[in-house]
């Protein structure tokens, strides 16, 4: 039992809030967090926070119905409410930090995403060997295993979706998995992705389109591909990282606890202290306990950016290391995708352990797995801190060469676990966060959580 401390949970991850509270031996703070029928967030904190040390747990993920921006605004409003309620200190606990990752778009040399027209029909089905349809705003949207049946004849689903959503005015996007959120049962008019391009005259202002743009395929193809920067100007994509940090500080956060930031530099965005916890000890423990003969395995980084992360594990466990290098130059002029992967290192007849910080659409790791299989790997594990699994990541992974995917529950995994079955292992991070909260509250050092080698 820890005194003078209040743990307040957002709607994004109720089960994590519960386990953290369980570990700390205190009940979560009573609050009402929902929405008014107008769509504005409603927040009332029912327990006193005066003079207390408040920890607000909200994870930043979206996709498959979860709404990241809603969660983030809820967090800011909760922080502000606690500040207004005279809390002594407010700490935002974000197991997965929103907007920390730069968009994983295929870029051309000038820095803008590549827009290419769809060149061929979609592949019939995912098979063990199939290449997941990759990255290009011009590619047809892959709809998972079930949805592909009608597309075998090469129909461009993006166009079909486009037409469909214009007529289906009231198509609902489905559920709000906001845990105990009080929702009003409205559909979401203007979900995402509608009316992206300004300056185009064929706008359909308020037609709700449930489809969202994804990292890898833009549903509203005609609008996106017709987008052109002014002559002589190089278009660029806004980076929201610093903004998110500033907004949280502006709302009143005094301290931030997060885990495995994609860019550790994000820490520098804040004026307030940021504790970046590591999922590495958990992953290492998993390797030691669950992978037989792990000393003979190879640690793989699926891209150059994650090399440091992967080598840290490889070094401390004294395992071999290999790297997959994404060649961004177009290899052939007819190639629909300009990234080809090259393996640096040897994996034949070895067990491979892919290490990365986040799996979002699952594109990188499934492609890497395919390459590793081709290079003769016997078994492929993928260990990742954050499992977002947005878009059709689950079906993509199900159909891929990956034998095991291991993620932490920084993002709710119940649904993913149900769909991936034995292929997915979930590691519990609640004890780490509970311990971090306890230590921060008591003013103890948390560096012991950083190195458990």
């Amino acid at each position: 039992m820890v005194r003078n401390i209040v743990v307040l949970g957002g709607n994004s991850h109720p089960s994590l809030v519960e386990s953290v509270c369980g570990a700390l031996g205190l009940p979560p703070c009573n609050r009402i967090l929902g929405k008014f029928s107008s769509g504005e967030s409603r927040c009332e904190i029912q327990d006193s926070v005066r003079g207390k040390d408040v920890y607000i747990i909200q994870t930043g993920f979206g996709g498959n119905g979860a709404r990241l921006n809603d969660h983030f605004m809820d967090l800011c409003i909760m922080i502000s409410a606690c500040k207004t309620g005279s809390a002594r200190r407010v700490t935002a606990v974000l197991p997965l930090f929103p907007y920390s990752r730069q968009p994983d778009l295929p870029y051309k040399k000038s820095g803008a995403p590549l827009f290419k027209a769809s060149s061929e029909g979609s592949k019939n089905d995912y098979t063990f060997d199939s290449v997941p349809p990759t990255p290009g705003p011009g590619m047809p949207k892959s709809a998972g295993l079930a949805g592909l049946a009608g597309l075998a004849n090469g129909t461009d689903i993006t166009n079909r979706l486009l037409k469909m959503s214009v007529t289906n005015g009231n198509e609902s996007t489905g559920k709000l998995p906001n845990g105990n959120a009080k929702t009003n049962g409205d559909g979401f008019p203007f979900t995402n992705g509608t009316n992206g391009v300004n300056g185009s005259r064929e706008l359909t202002p308020t037609t709700p389109k449930p489809a969202s743009y994804t990292t890898h395929d833009y549903v509203n193809l005609s609008l996106v591909s017709s987008f052109q920067a002014k002559p002589g100007y190089k278009q660029w994509v806004a980076q929201a990282g610093t903004l998110v940090a500033n907004l949280m500080t502006c709302a009143g956060a005094d301290h931030v606890i997060t885990m495995d930031l994609h860019d550790p530099q994000v820490q520098g965005f804040f004026d307030v202290p940021v504790d970046n916890l590591y999922g590495r000890p958990l992953l290492q423990q998993y390797i030691q306990r669950n992978i037989p003969n792990y000393k003979d395995a190879v640690i793989i980084s699926p891209d150059a950016g994650g090399a440091k992360r992967a080598t840290a594990i490889a070094d401390s466990m004294q395992i071999d290391f290999a790297l997959i290098h994404k060649e961004r130059r177009p290899t052939r002029i007819t190639d629909r995708q300009n990234a080809s992967m090259i393996l640096v290192g040897n994996v034949s007849d070895r067990v491979c352990i892919l290490i990365d910080d986040i799996v979002d659409t699952g594109n990188t790791i499934t492609r890497a797995a395919k390459l590793l299989k081709k290079e003769g790997a016997t078994k492929i594990y993928a260990l990742l801190t954050h499992g977002v699994f947005s878009d059709d990541a689950v079906s993509r992974i199900n159909a891929s060469a990956l034998d095991k995917v291991v993620v932490t529950n920084s993002v709710p995994q119940a649904e993913h676990k149900a769909r991936l079955g034995a292929k997915l292992d979930v590691l519990d991070i609640a004890p780490i966060f509970a311990e971090a909260i306890r230590r921060v509250h008591h003013g103890e050092s948390i560096s012991v959580l950083f190195n458990q080698d």
Partner: protein, 332 residues
């Protein structure tokens, strides 16, 4: 050519209300800037800039689409922040319907003052100036922000009024002597009396008890509406519970017909069904909020175009002229 001359209006539109942006751009004789906003599959919002805003006078238009307030707000913040990064000279957030405007006071223990939070967030993102229409609580305009260094950095809020447009609508459609202006609650009395004074008509007030948000309690009419056209005036029509009940009260008290003039037609939940089944003859709203197919679904809904007022405010702000003319006059 001096640097002053090169400085132009750049109108950037968010996704929530492109229709209004187009109208404003047309009035101003400019094109909406080439930008694109989209959501990644993990629901992070991304914003791409397709033309230079360096040293320009940037106006970012974003309303709040019903049900998607947070989405629109984040997009707005990201756009503002992007323009700040891209060295815009001045950034004005044009938010016809200020989000969270109703959560403007600590009405319960530990209730958030979200309106203040939103204003502070806009400022943090980099907005120098905020233009809005009929702000629910005018207090939002002067948000004290302890983190901002000095008053000079504080974003100024220009609150425009739909009142001149309403006055014109009433004058064009009714004879002032036949009308009674009614405020559906005590809080809106000032707004209603102002219109009544301008038209030289009678005024009435409905007193209501509100036990919980979005739930309407008992209502009492103060004033005489017998054989008159009762015109309800309010700043916001959300679920329309208040308006419809007020209309029923007015009918019971002998009003010939009842209509409502409301600035922001949020019309969430079952508002349209409620309206269709009510004694309200017409609900007149401005297009500060995207209405979508609501006009087709509700024959009682009339729309006044507010874009001339906003466009004129943008023009005047850009040229450094006074905006106060717009408080009493609606540009045609």
């Amino acid at each position: 050519m001096s640097a002053e001359m090169a400085n132009e209006i750049k109108l950037i539109s968010g996704r929530s209300h492109p229709d209004l942006s187009e109208k404003i751009a047309k009035r101003l004789g400019i094109e909406v800037a080439r930008t694109i906003s989209l959501n990644y599959s993990n629901q992070e919002t991304s914003f791409t800039v397709g033309e230079s805003v360096r040293d320009e006078d940037v106006f970012v238009m974003q309303s709040t689409a019903t049900g998607d307030v947070n989405e629109g707000l984040m997009e707005l913040l990201i756009i503002i922040s992007a323009c700040r990064t891209a060295s815009a000279r001045r950034i004005t957030a044009v938010i016809p319907n200020f989000p969270y405007a109703r959560q403007d006071k600590k009405d319960k223990s530990r209730a958030p003052i979200s309106a203040r939070l939103v204003a502070n967030m806009l400022q943090t993102a980099g907005a120098n100036h905020i233009v809005t229409v009929d702000l629910h609580a005018s207090q939002v305009r002067c948000c004290p922000d302890p983190k901002t260094r000095g008053v000079a950095n504080r974003a100024a809020v220009d609150n425009l009024y739909a009142e001149p447009s309403f006055l014109r609508y009433i004058r064009e459609n009714f004879t002032a002597e036949d009308c009674v202006i009614v405020s559906p609650d005590a809080g809106g009395a000032k707004r209603a009396t102002s219109i009544a004074d301008h038209l030289n008509t009678a005024f009435a007030l409905i007193h209501k008890e509100r036990p919980r948000p979005n739930v309407v309690g008992r209502m009492v009419l103060v004033g005489n509406v017998v054989d008159k056209i009762a015109i309800l005036v309010d700043d916001m029509a959300d679920t329309c519970g208040t308006l419809v009940k007020a209309a029923a009260v007015l009918k019971e008290n002998g009003a010939k017909s009842v209509l409502a003039l409301v600035t922001h037609g949020i019309l969430s939940g079952n508002a349209i069904e409620t309206l269709n089944g009510s004694v309200l003859e017409a609900l007149v709203v401005t297009n500060t909020v995207p209405l979508g197919d609501k006009v087709e679904r509700c024959p009682k809904l009339r729309v006044i175009d507010i874009s001339p007022t906003i466009a004129e405010a943008i023009r005047r702000t850009h040229n450094g002229e006074s905006v106060s003319y717009l408080f009493t006059h609606a540009p045609v």
